[in-house]
């Protein structure tokens, strides 16, 4: 009798999911384990907390896996939020011309705002919002990561939406897909490959910010959120080199797992949404995806959402356009010109009002002289960034070309370069401080390389990607004509990799500005090294809790980045696209 009772649910499950095969043996525990860890960790994020309370944190490496989990959860949360933001903001911008005129410039400016700069401002807001809960500081940290990813992803999605092939869009219209169906059947799939790629790149930048945003000081209180970043901050305070070693090792493992379990499968999966397959592309592979695809039970489980939707959809009422809405649309179409003009004036007024308000806020606390000084600090940081990007290019372009021309080496080096780009370079800062102190080096010069430490890899792997796409026939003709080494570089290699180099250089450049906030002031126990620059200014004013000055620093830095982007990188990008794209 008990035999039957046990058997019945098993048989029912088999009927629903099919008999498990050997792939399931790995896949099921993997998925269930992940779900458990996620739900357990998430619950820890909402425990009660009051400002000033000390969160228990220990340097015992046994706690590191738990800290690493918390850090990862922040990354996941930020990614989910970024996706939501992308799907709404970018869609709105792409669909409405009026919204586009406002939203895209905003996005452009937001992209140049130094993320770590306004952490101290947002954290106050979030603590008030989630009063008495750890969710406040958690949300601030997640928000910092969010800001490092969302703009980039939204841009990618917006551009994809703008490029949906006309005939597909017409087919969708002709077969009368609703806007909801159109979004999920046409627009999202079309955008997916580049969105996933952008999300992966953004996430690799995110590790830097999660580490930097876990240990925050607010109004004189230090908040150490449980996580690898706080662990490092504590280790720095205690001058504990072994602990730093542990943290670095933990970070390696976490990034590796995050990449293998999340992004590799996603990239491989998004491959099927690629609109035109380039012959030169080698299909991405992911053991996790293969595993999930071949496991019978997992495949059945993956179908459950579709089953639910199928039951649900006929029940949902189909939306009919209400009469007022139709009238409104008619009115908007008829008064198009007038509305556009009104909208533009409104925007101009709003922007001017905001600028004046901001100017009054800052000048109430800061003298004009100091504002001038802040611009000079900006120039110092700008000089550092420019020199460093140039130096990094001199080193990594030849290396990248060498690697890219050897497919087998490239296959091994490319993931490594991507991994290094993801690795939060701020973990290595303490080592630099010790070196500078030990050898009595010039702080102004030797702190600078820290800014580019994490972002130089973008140059490397973009150049590798560019060089590996160099058409074989061009390389053959270069050899056939007997081009010398220098001619070969000048006539073939540099033009061919130029577009990818510009992409990499732009990313490295933006990243270096962001990093300056943590790289120009570095601590090791009681030792503090400071280089003159805008990053140091923001960091110091943040520590002092002087909000008008922080805001001033942020705005000046955003201005510098905006000006460089607009007058250097964008023209370069356009030039590269027009002259050197291999499309012909």
């Amino acid at each position: 009798m008990p035999h039957v009772r046990l058997d019945a649910p098993v048989r029912a499950a088999r009927a629903l999911f099919g008999a498990p095969n050997r792939w399931d043996l790995v896949a099921i525990p993997l998925v269930l384990g992940l779900l458990f860890v996620l739900s357990w960790g998430t619950r820890q994020m909402a425990v009660p907390y009051h400002l000033g309370e000390a969160l228990p944190l220990s340097l015992d490496p046994r706690h590191l896996p738990y800290y690493a989990l918390r850090t990862t959860l922040r990354m996941v949360a930020a990614m989910v939020l970024s996706l939501l933001f992308t799907f709404t903001y970018a869609t709105f911008a792409a669909k409405s011309r009026r919204a586009e005129a406002l939203l895209i410039p905003i996005l452009d400016v937001l992209q140049s705002v130094p993320i770590l700069g306004f952490l101290s401002i947002t954290v106050v807001g979030f603590i008030h919002l989630f009063h008495g809960s750890l969710l406040g500081p958690e949300a601030a940290a997640v928000f910092a990561i969010f800001t490092s990813q969302a703009w980039n992803m939204a841009f990618s999605f917006y551009h994809s939406l703008k490029m949906v092939p006309k005939d597909l869009s017409q087919a969708a219209h002709l077969f009368r897909l609703s806007s909801w169906q159109r979004f999920w059947k046409l627009e999202v799939p079309f955008a997916l490959p580049s969105l996933v790629w952008n999300a992966m790149m953004s996430a690799s930048g995110g590790w830097f910010f999660v580490v930097a945003s876990e240990a925050i000081s607010v109004a004189g209180h230090h908040i150490f959120l449980p996580g690898v970043g706080s662990y490092i901050a504590l280790a720095i305070e205690h001058k504990d080199l072994t602990a730093i070693g542990y943290a670095i090792a933990a970070m390696f493992v976490v990034i590796f797992l995050y990449d293998q379990l999340l992004f590799r499968p996603l990239v491989a999966w998004s491959e099927r949404f690629r609109f035109e397959a380039l012959a030169s592309d080698t299909p991405s592979e992911s053991w996790v995806l293969t595993l999930l695809r071949r496991a019978v039970v997992m495949r059945r489980v993956a179908r459950i959402p579709a089953l639910i939707r199928r039951r649900l959809v006929p029940v949902l009422p189909r939306r009919a356009e209400s009469a007022p809405l139709v009238l409104l649309r008619h009115f908007i179409r008829r008064e198009e010109r007038l509305l556009t003009r009104l909208w533009r004036y409104g925007l101009i007024i709003a922007v001017s009002a905001l600028s004046i308000g901001f100017a009054r806020y800052v000048t109430a606390a800061v003298s004009y002289r100091e504002i001038g000084d802040v611009f000079l600090y900006g120039a110092a940081t700008a000089a550092r960034v420019v020199v460093l990007v140039a130096l990094a290019s001199l080193i990594w372009v030849p290396v990248g070309v060498w690697v890219g021309e050897r497919p087998r080496v490239a296959r091994a080096v490319q993931p490594l370069a991507q991994f290094l780009a993801a690795f939060p370079a701020n973990l290595l800062f303490p080592l630099a401080v010790m070196g500078i102190v030990h050898y009595h080096l010039n702080v102004q010069i030797w702190l600078s390389p820290l800014m580019i430490l994490g972002t130089q890899w973008y140059i490397l792997f973009n150049v590798i990607a560019g060089a590996s796409l160099l058409p074989g026939d061009l390389r053959e003709i270069a050899r056939n004509l007997g081009l010398g080494r220098w001619q070969r570089w000048r006539r073939l290699i540099l033009p061919a990799i130029f577009p990818s180099f510009v992409t990499g250089g732009l990313t490295a450049f933006g990243g270096a500005w962001n990093a300056s906030v943590v790289a120009e002031v570095v601590n090791w126990g009681n030792t503090q090294l400071t280089a003159t620059g805008l990053g140091a200014y923001i960091a110091q004013q943040t520590a002092a809790g002087d909000h008008p000055r922080v805001a001033l620093g942020i705005v000046v830095m955003s201005l510098y980045v905006l000006v460089f982007n607009r007058f250097v990188w964008r023209p370069l990008h356009r030039y590269a696209e027009e002259r050197f794209s291999l499309g012909g």
């Binding site: 002709l174 077969f175 949404f273 189909r318």
Partner: protein, 441 residues
């Protein structure tokens, strides 16, 4: 019998389409005063050279584009958006690459909220009928071009359309594949296996149109309008080599080479064309290629257009574009389905590179006002250089931005060959060519 039905399936009344020119906002006409009634049981083909707005017309019929003049009635009611009974097959297939064959086919049903069991049942039927069985789970990229277009047909037919529109549905396929697909479609149609009541197709192949259609409408270009109509009463399957079929082919060539009264877009008869004339996209090599062909195998430098097209493997669009360029430059003359080299054309063919260049330059300046205009402007400037925007803006008074750029690029290409103009791509600057070939501009 067909004509006896009181309301036509599809009724176009005075349909016109135009867009505002980029700079001045002057309306540029694409289609003008199209009146067309499509009845039950007939296949109508629309034939015309590129630029006659035939694809636009098809999109107006199915409600994808709103016409700027006139109305489209489907079963007596105006079409204001995509209508349920009208379906289309695209030249580029327009399949969703991330959906399987089955998912692509059921797309239209899904949009209508047909529940899944029913959806798959209907899709299976159509897939079987169109010869796609066994490929249901394949992605489009796994299929050959012919199979992809079969998916396109299945997707269009599964929603049981009254009217099936085909936008050059076979032109992206190789000849044998297109042939078999056309034959299969015709079988389905004549055996009434599909619920479709009428087919409207756009084509740039005369033979294709005559092979399938009961009625062929020949369109004029710039702006597009109905020039003439040819009824085809031959029984299916039609034999392309039969005398009656060939006669119809020749008749259509005849219509296409007759200038309609007051038309700017018909054959260019020596007369001057305007500054913003939409020059055909033709290379100098194509021009001299056709002239050489006429010289070698033609009968006293003349030939039937149909023969020329066959010998040189030219489709209708390319053939007429080259013919237009030849007439425009005064190197050949077309009348009554025949093309004949002019005397200058003969001199051009016989000449060496230098002479050819000189003749081409001379005629370019004389007969293409835009070239003369550019040379005049450059000549007045001390540096003899001007940015391309200078001329683009002028063209945009009359044309769209894209069309202006296309026209200017044709002029640059021709004038470079003639060594009249130089163009700096990076700077976007036009300048005078080498002085020894400059003609009195």
């Amino acid at each position: 019998m067909n004509e006896s039905s009181p309301t036509p399936l599809l009724d176009l009344r005075g349909v016109g389409q135009s867009y505002p020119a980029a700079e001045s906002g002057v309306r540029v006409k694409i289609l003008e005063d199209i009146n067309l009634a499509v009845h039950e049981g007939e296949i109508v083909a629309i034939l015309g050279r590129s630029g006659c707005g035939k694809s636009t017309l098809l999109r107006i019929m199915c409600g994808l584009i709103e016409p700027s003049a006139g109305t489209v009635l489907y079963r007596g009611t105006p079409v204001t958006g995509p209508a349920a009974g009208i379906s289309m097959v695209f030249q580029s297939f327009a399949l969703f690459p991330w959906l399987t064959v089955l998912q692509n086919v059921t797309l239209g049903l899904e949009a209508r909220g047909v529940e899944e069991g029913e959806r798959n049942r209907r899709a299976d039927e159509v897939i079987e009928m169109i010869g796609l069985s066994g490929y249901e789970s394949a992605y489009p990229k796994e299929l050959s071009g012919g199979m992809r277009q079969r998916v396109g047909f299945a997707r269009a037919l599964v929603v049981d359309p009254d009217v099936l529109l085909m936008d050059e549905a076979f032109s992206a396929l190789d000849v044998p594949t297109a042939e078999s697909l056309r034959a299969d479609l015709l079988d389905l149609w004549s055996e009434r296996l599909i619920p479709t009541q009428a087919i409207v197709m756009v084509s740039h192949s005369i033979e294709e149109a005559l092979f399938l259609a009961d009625r062929v409408l020949v369109f004029d270009s710039n702006p597009g309008r109905v020039k003439d109509e040819v009824r085809v009463t031959l029984k299916h399957p039609r034999d392309r080599e039969s005398a009656s079929f060939r006669a119809l082919v020749e008749r259509i060539y005849g219509i296409m080479t007759t200038a309609a009264a007051g038309s700017a877009g018909g054959a260019v008869h020596g007369g001057r064309v305007g500054l913003a004339y939409r020059l055909p996209e033709v290379s100098v090599a194509q021009v001299s290629g056709v002239l050489e062909q006429l010289d070698q195998s033609g009968d006293h430098g003349g030939a039937e257009l149909s023969e020329l097209a066959e010998e040189m493997h030219l489709d209708l669009d390319t053939l007429f574009a080259i013919v237009e360029a030849l007439e425009l430059l005064g190197l050949a003359h077309v009348a009554e389905r025949r093309i004949r080299m002019t005397r200058v054309g003969k001199v051009f063919v016989d000449g060496d590179q230098q002479q050819r260049r000189r003749i081409f330059a001379e005629h370019l300046v004389r007969r293409v006002p835009l070239v003369a205009h550019i040379l005049r402007v450059l000549d007045e400037r001390p540096q003899r250089r001007a940015p391309e925007e200078r001329f683009l803006r002028e063209l945009e008074d009359r044309l769209s931005e894209q069309e202006s750029e296309r026209v200017l690029s044709v002029v640059i290409q021709w004038a470079r060959y003639a060594e009249l103009l130089d163009y700096d791509y990076d700077a976007g600057v036009l300048s005078m060519g080498s002085p020894d070939v400059q003609q009195g501009a």
